[in-house]
């Protein structure tokens, strides 16, 4: 993984421009948990730690919610059916006025809009802004109605974007199919610091060895059945061995013989703090997914916690685990092979310690600090052509033709 660095050792044609003013737009209500909100929050913090000045504009419904210092509320959101579920969005003349004011007062060097096609502050910001615009696409829904809208209004907003970023190969494909053009791939980061250290859950990992699993319990693709089968084969020879299973949904334990059931501990859904503790609670962490994972977020979190990992050898996992160097791999869907590999790990504390160190090292490539540096590289690339280094033009409210012409004159005196 390439590590992008900012602000050091530049050739003359690209002098360092640290300390950018970045305006980030999040279309979904900040006080409702979600992937995009999490992404924007982590990104804002990582950029702030790099010395950039960040302001995040997002709808905020709950007045009693205590927002982080970088958040600017964009008004109360309304529930709207969007993209197959109900999203809480802000749209309309009042939201538009707020967006405009935020852009005018923010004097940003670059605007970073998330899900720019979302009919919320994101689309409003696209319309209202003139200047360097970066956009990140998260949706990977091939039948996304919002994305397939080729209306002039939407197109006129999206064609202002200077740089498109997709968080996964699937998101990139969705974008290319609906809008044409291209995007660079920058995956989600994992906040390594948040997972690095925690107390194990009470009573874990225990004396007789333990294997951990996190993920939806009732989704076959997560592969829990493979792990249960492997456990059923190992447990009779290892009297103290226990299985820690955590995640939402109902687990189907019908394949596990009655006398082994009590050694399968199902914890159900965990809150954020307990989830971190769960990664530290087992001797061996297992990711038995059968496929379909574009990027193993559970896997990277386990690696950040320094777990000794045994994972199925699907391409995504093999890539994250350096082909087996940062965690053991078993043949996908093969419980015998899993039992063999997991057994070898349980028997060797040295091997586990070795994999733990290797995992902590390999996961750095997926840390938010690394990912945010790559995003900052995108900002610099956009600004390299726009400001001609010596004079930053920045983001202004769009005033139609006049503003467009004025900016041209401003840039090439």
């Amino acid at each position: 993984m390439i590590r992008a660095r900012t602000g050091t050792r530049r050739p003359e044609q690209a002098p360092a421009r640290t300390g950018l003013r970045v305006g980030i737009v999040c279309p979904y209500a900040w006080d409702v948990p979600g992937g995009v909100q999490q992404h924007v929050g982590d990104l804002a913090e990582a950029l702030g730690a790099m010395g950039h000045e960040v302001s995040v504009l997002a709808p905020l419904g709950d007045a009693s919610y205590d927002p982080p210092p970088y958040l600017v509320p964009a008004g109360r959101p309304v529930p709207v059916p969007y993209n197959g579920s109900v999203a809480r969005l802000s749209f309309g003349p009042r939201a538009a006025a707020r967006v405009r004011r935020w852009i005018t007062e923010g004097e940003f060097d670059v605007l970073h809009i998330h899900e720019p096609a979302a009919p919320s502050v994101s689309l409003l910001a696209c319309w209202a802004a003139d200047g360097p615009v970066v956009a990140t696409f998260h949706t990977s829904n091939p039948r996304s109605r919002a994305m397939s809208a080729t209306s002039t209004a939407l197109r006129s907003a999206l064609e202002k974007i200077n740089a498109r970023v997709a968080v996964s190969e699937a998101a990139r494909r969705t974008l290319v199919e609906h809008l044409g053009g291209d995007a660079v791939l920058i995956p989600n980061g994992v906040s390594v610091r948040r997972f690095a250290r925690a107390e194990p859950l009470p009573g874990w990992p225990g004396e007789g060895g333990s294997i951990g699993f996190l993920g939806r319990l009732d989704e076959p693709r997560k592969g829990l059945s493979t792990l249960l089968e492997a456990f059923t084969r190992m447990a009779p020879h290892r009297p103290g061995l226990r299985l820690l299973v955590a995640g939402p949904g109902r687990a189907d334990l019908s394949g596990v013989p009655d006398d082994l059931r009590e050694r399968v501990v199902v914890l159900g859904r965990l809150d954020a703090a307990d989830k971190v503790r769960a990664y530290h609670s087992a001797d061996v962490f297992c990711a038995p997914n059968l496929g379909g994972e574009s990027f193993g977020i559970v896997l990277t979190e386990a690696m950040a916690a320094g777990a000794a990992v045994v994972a199925s050898d699907i391409p995504a996992f093999s890539a994250v685990l350096d082909g087996g160097g940062a965690g053991d791999l078993f043949r996908v869907g093969d419980p015998d092979h899993l039992a063999e590999r997991a057994g070898a790990l349980l028997d060797s504390p040295e091997l586990r310690a070795h994999l733990s160190v290797a995992a902590r090292k390999a996961v750095r490539a997926y840390d938010w600090a690394t990912v945010a540096a790559d995003i900052a590289h995108v900002y610099e690339t956009v600004l390299m052509g726009d400001g001609r280094q010596d004079r930053v033009v920045g983001v202004r409210p769009d005033a139609g033709r006049r503003s467009a012409t004025r900016s041209r004159r401003g840039e090439r005196p």
Binding site: R3, R9, E159, H377, M384, G385, G400
Partner: protein, 157 residues
Amino acid sequence: MLVLLGFYLSWRATRLDRLHHRVETARAALDAALLRRAAAVLDLAADPGLDPGTARNLAEAANGARRAGEGERELAESELSRILRASLDPSEAGPSGDRLDEVAVAARGVHLARVFHNDAVSDTRRARRSRVVRLLGLAGTAALPEYFEMDDRPPAR
């Protein structure tokens, strides 16, 4: 009615103007990114830790890319990408980390800038295919922008 039509056409012309501007800035960014990479490779070629043969190949390819004329740039830059991949075998101990880091970051920058440039070209070319734009000549005398096609796969780390 005529006023509305006038507004509409002016809006279309503004959009097109903006697209051409986007291509121009993206092209400037791409040129800067390519220059930065060539400079980083020349810097790396001067590293005493590199064997002389590899250093010479790298310097030649970087200079070739910098001096290439308009019609040959894509080939010369692709050749530089190829030589970089062939020369920088991550399994071998080699030059110092800082110079290698700068080459890796600069190579990533070339990829970013090229994707953004070609994306802008594709939006602009689509807009110029529209019937209104072609009939009324809203694009004026601006040349149809061209894609920049090159091999920009970075060296392995």
